[in-house]
Each structure stands twice: as structure tokens, then as C-alpha cells.
Symmetry: C2
Subunit: 349 residues, 2 copies
């Protein structure tokens, strides 16, 4: 149980005394600085826990003018997080890198248009040193909101508005969606497929639009009936697959813009008695191993390293928050990073 020596709020001194180390060592451990031996750091942490010690934030802020917290803003219904391993993966990478640098991740959800001004107020209120955002829809006010704040920000995925906003500008980390889609469709062509459809994500999201562009780069003359819009959910993938089969019974391949949608599409193909890959070859996108290795047959898909993209977002944010070179007008230049994708061939195509 927790012990308090004299009943007062425990101090840094109390922690140092109990752990048998100097106050500056306690400070270093608490601020997540390296160069403390693991055994010593453990003793300090045990003392912190036993005493219920809480560092004095007001005192720290005067020195650093920082909250040591970073907002992670997710524009999805909270329950999407619970069914889509994509987010789990992304957040794991982000969290790893933030915590490694001693920053507290603070998760905010936008589920509803009403949430924007409230989230904006929090972001602009000095409670966080920066923000990592996922804002992918064409009409999303987040890029403009963040551009008006003096807050370092990095977007996961390319925001729809480009980087033309006034203000601080922003960075983004995106996968090579278009290139990955091209590789997927070229693979289907190389297998001799002639009626290749695609199931897209919601086309007001840049990742979905970019993947469709990649499909069209290869199949310049693909008729509109071969394109069905999904919503990045399993059920959406199933519904779009059913629609494609109704419209084009002679379909012999489909490029599906996410693994979760692809697993829904595989279910429908099985129900309709189509063999995969013999009758219809299927390629997904993401390479979420928990899905892609579990489908029947295992899914050929385009790999993007989602966890690494999360880590990269956090790293970019710290660069922007610290000594990034300023651009001509004295503001840091927006910077965007596009990470490579590659085809992982399993059994479905």
C-alpha cells in the first residue's frame, strides 16, 4: 500500500531519500531522460509508486514552457477503433515513439461535427505541445483549424486541401497509395486477368482516391461498372463485392482497397460459389497480418508499414517542435513524407 512519511504531499526529496539516489537522478528518471542505469531507474520508479509522488507541473512548465503532452486526434467513431486493427497498429507506433521521448500521448476522438470546436479549443489551449491528426476527408476543417494555431502538427495521410493554408503549415506522413495500387493491378494483369474490378474506400478520403487513381493508371479504359465504392469496413467490402458480381458476372479479379474490405469480399465470393483465385483473383491493401494470414485463402495484398508510419509521425512532430530550419517567410516549411509500399503475394492472387 502507499506510504506517506509525514502525511504531507510527497516531494522530490522524499522520492530521492527512499530510492537512495540524488534529486537530479530522480528528475532524470521522471523526465524520461536516458543515461540512468536500469536498476537505479527501477528503484526510483518503485519509490514514486510507493509514495504516490506527483511531479509539480507548474514548476516544470515555468522552466520548459511545455506540457510534455501530445494530442492524437482520431476522426473516426470510437467503436471503429475496436473492430479495425489498422488503428491499433498506427496508435502503437505513435505511442512507442512519444513515450520513448518522454511525451504523454493524449487521445481525442472526433465522432460528430459538434466535436470540432471543442477539440479545437483544447488543442489551442496550451494543454499539448503538438498534435498528430488523421484528417482525410475533403471537407474536414481540421487542417485549417490547426493552421491557425501556433501548434506543431503532423497529419497521418495526406490532407485533402494540400499544404496551401496560411499559418504554420503542417507535415504529413502518407503511404505511396497510388504506387501500391498500381503494383497490385499490374500483378493481376500479369496473371492474365482481363476483367479486373476494384472496391474503393470512401472517395472523399485521399487514401481511397489515390488508390483508385493507381488502378486507373494501369487500366486506362476500365468502365465505371467495374468500380464499386466501399467504406473501409468488412460489411462495406461484402456489399460492394455483391454489387460488382451483379453488374459484372464475368469479373475475374478484384483489387480491394483495404484488407478488412477484402475479407468481406472473400466471404461473398465463397457464398456465390466463386473459387479464389481460380475464378476470381483478389488483392487487398494494408497487409494487416492478423487479417491477411487468416483469410481463406490467405490474402495477397499491398504492404504499408503502419506501425512505422506512426513512429515517423511522432518523429516528424518533434523535429518541427524543435530546431527545424525555417522557410523564407520565417515559418517552418510544410514537409510531407511518402513511405514505400510493396506487394506481398500469398494465395488469393
Amino acid at each position: 500500500m502507499t506510504e506517506r512519511p509525514n502525511g504531507h504531499r510527497p516531494t522530490l526529496e522524499d522520492v530521492a531519500r527512499r530510492a537512495g539516489v540524488s534529486k537530479s537522478t530522480v528528475s532524470r528518471v521522471i523526465n524520461g531522460e536516458p543515461k540512468v542505469r536500469a536498476a537505479v531507474a527501477d528503484r526510483v520508479r518503485q519509490a514514486v509508486a510507493a509514495l504516490g509522488y506527483v511531479p509539480n507541473q507548474a514548476a516544470r512548465s515555468l522552466v520548459t514552457r511545455r506540457s510534455n503532452a501530445v494530442a492524437v486526434v482520431v476522426t473516426e467513431p470510437q467503436n471503429r477503433l475496436f473492430v479495425d486493427p489498422y488503428f491499433d497498429c498506427h496508435l502503437r507506433g505513435i505511442r512507442q515513439e512519444l513515450v520513448r521521448r518522454g511525451a504523454q500521448p493524449v487521445l481525442l476522438f472526433i465522432e460528430d461535427p459538434d466535436d470540432y470546436p471543442r477539440v479545437g479549443t483544447f488543442l489551442g489551449g496550451g494543454h499539448v505541445d503538438g498534435a498528430l491528426l488523421f484528417s482525410l476527408r475533403t471537407d474536414d476543417p481540421l487542417p485549417a483549424m490547426v493552421a491557425h494555431m501556433d501548434l506543431p502538427a503532423v497529419f497521418g495521410g495526406r490532407p485533402a486541401g494540400g499544404s496551401g493554408h496560411r499559418g504554420r503549415g503542417y507535415a504529413s506522413v502518407d503511404a505511396d497509395n497510388r504506387g501500391g495500387a498500381r503494383e497490385a493491378v499490374r500483378h493481376l494483369v500479369s496473371l492474365g486477368r482481363r476483367r479486373i474490378g476494384t472496391i474503393t474506400g470512401p472517395l472523399d478520403q485521399t487514401s481511397a482516391a489515390d488508390r483508385l487513381d493507381g488502378y486507373r493508371d494501369v487500366l486506362l479504359d476500365a468502365p465505371a461498372e467495374l468500380v464499386a465504392e466501399g467504406d473501409f469496413t468488412l460489411r462495406g467490402g461484402a456489399d460492394a463485392m455483391a454489387a460488382l458480381l451483379d453488374r459484372c458476372p464475368d469479373l475475374d479479379a478484384v483489387f480491394v482497397a483495404s484488407d478488412l474490405m477484402a475479407s468481406g469480399a472473400l466471404r461473398v465470393l465463397r457464398e456465390r460459389g466463386r473459387r479464389v483465385p481460380e475464378d476470381v483473383a483478389v488483392v487487398g491493401f494494408d497487409d494487416l497480418v492478423a487479417i491477411a494470414e487468416a483469410t481463406e485463402p490467405p490474402l495477397t495484398t499491398v504492404r504499408q508499414d503502419i506501425e512505422d508510419m506512426g513512429r515517423l509521425m511522432a518523429r516528424l512532430l518533434f523535429e518541427r517542435a524543435s530546431d527545424e530550419p525555417a522557410s523564407r517567410d520565417g515559418r517552418p516549411a510544410p514537409s510531407s513524407v511518402v513511405t514505400p509500399t510493396r506487394l506481398v503475394v500469398r494465395a488469393s492472387a
Copy 2:
């Protein structure tokens, strides 16, 4: 796309002009106050989004001295959230009630002992007006940390240390775990079962310990071999079921302390050729409908209204933060609420 009339950071006036309403109407919508017609509120929100307007937090804080944000602290690995619908349900209730009152939920995870001081620093730094916490392990430093801060706090589940901490004290919302477990075991006894085992949660958590106490209230002389400790995961439930069957092949019933563990236990019973409920009757705990109605056979279980408990936590927090009557020493008294449970009979017992 976002429009900015003169290139400056958009103001409350800009929003009012664009929406064709008064500044005070804009204020009311942004602060989540009721009494604005839905059509008018929609116009304001559209103007906010189109302009990328961000309310001026510094100005608001001077008036209210509040951040209008509430921390939700979850002491679980983030990926637990993605496999256990319990948390989804709890967070949904919390979020609903916070948002209804215009407060921004801010989600913090504690996955590692290193996280405590960092989370404590954030909680104590004036960034949130209160905290909702899930802290259930005996050696958890959170109750003591929060007790040292001038921060209203409500715990989900009864903290292990009781309410004896100095400082502000805290409230908690807990289900009647012991009473629910008693009802479950009495039900098994009433079915004529004679060798009734139990699979518990981790016994350093109060909810797990309370449910085991309820089991023992009814079966005073149950031998230790009938008790197997699980960890509230599906695999933990399966492993504990296998251990029980190895030790007590004549087992004819089992009370499992969570639905997720019960679904793992049912899988093992099926693999071992035991019919449910004919050979072994099974009762779970939680009534997570997504699980309990999907198991084969559907699960008889103890219902706790998890979403409502989330709402209740948020309501209690607002009461404590506002005009709760003070106790004798000038501090608000800790208050704890225990919500009722009830048995839902399906096919497994």
C-alpha cells in the same frame, strides 16, 4: 474548402456574420449550451467548419478557470481495448455524458509502470477539470496520486485501498459484484449442480475478488481445487477451464467471472466433448450482448449495465466538481455508488 475572409485568424464575429446570428448565439452553440434551435445550431457549426474557427481558449479560461476537458485514464494495455467490448461499452457511456455537458474527453493509457509519473504530471498540470479512472489493482498508485491533487476524480470500480486517503478523497461507481456472483451460484445450485467450480479474474483486482467472495458466500465449503484464476481474457478463460477439468473431471457447473473468459471456457468444454448445459452448466458475468448471444449455446450471465455505469461516473464527477456539500473538514466526502446486477438466463445454465 475552407474560406478565410481577410486572411486573418477567423473570429467569433466572422462566424456570427457568416451564420447570420448574434455573437452570443455562436457562443452558446460552441459551449454546448442547450436552448438553441437545431437548424440555427447547424448553421453555426457549418460556419465554424467553413472558416476553420477555433475558440480562444485563453480568454475563456480567464473567465471560467476551467479547461472544459476531463481525463479518462485506462490502466490497461491499449490493445486490450481492441479485443474486449467491455471497454468500448464503458467509454461510450462516459463519452456520451461528458459531451452532453460540453466537456472534452481526453483518453490516457497506462500500460507500463513508467507511465504513472508522466500521467500524474499531466493530471496535475491544470489541463483537465477532473479525471475518470479505472484503477483496480491492489498496488496501484493512482488513488494516492489523485488524492494528493486538487482534482475531482471518480473511479470505475472500487479502488483496493478503500477511501482512507488524505486529500480530496474520491468517488467510485461499482457494480454489485458480490451480489451478482451469489445470484449466479445460487442459480447453479437450484439446477441441482453439486460440483460447482469458478474461474476468477486476476485476484489483485477488487471486482475479481468480490465475485469470488460471492461464490464463497454460497459454497462455504468449496475446496480450493474448484477455484482457478484467470485474467479476464478469452485465452485465460480457456486455460483455466482446462485446468479445472484436469483437476476435477466430475465438475458439473462453473461460474466464470467474465463473458469473454466464459466464451474461452465454452470452447474448451466443446473440445473435451462435454455438453453444455447437460454435462457442465456455465454462467458468465457482464452480459456483453455481442458475446453472450453469440456463444454456442447462448450464455446465461450476470448483467451489469456497463454503459450506464460510464454515464454515472461522468455525472458524479460533475457533482463533485460543482456544488457538492462539503464534509466536516471542509472537503467533499468520498461517495461510492454500487449499481445493481441481475441474472439473465439463456441456454448455458
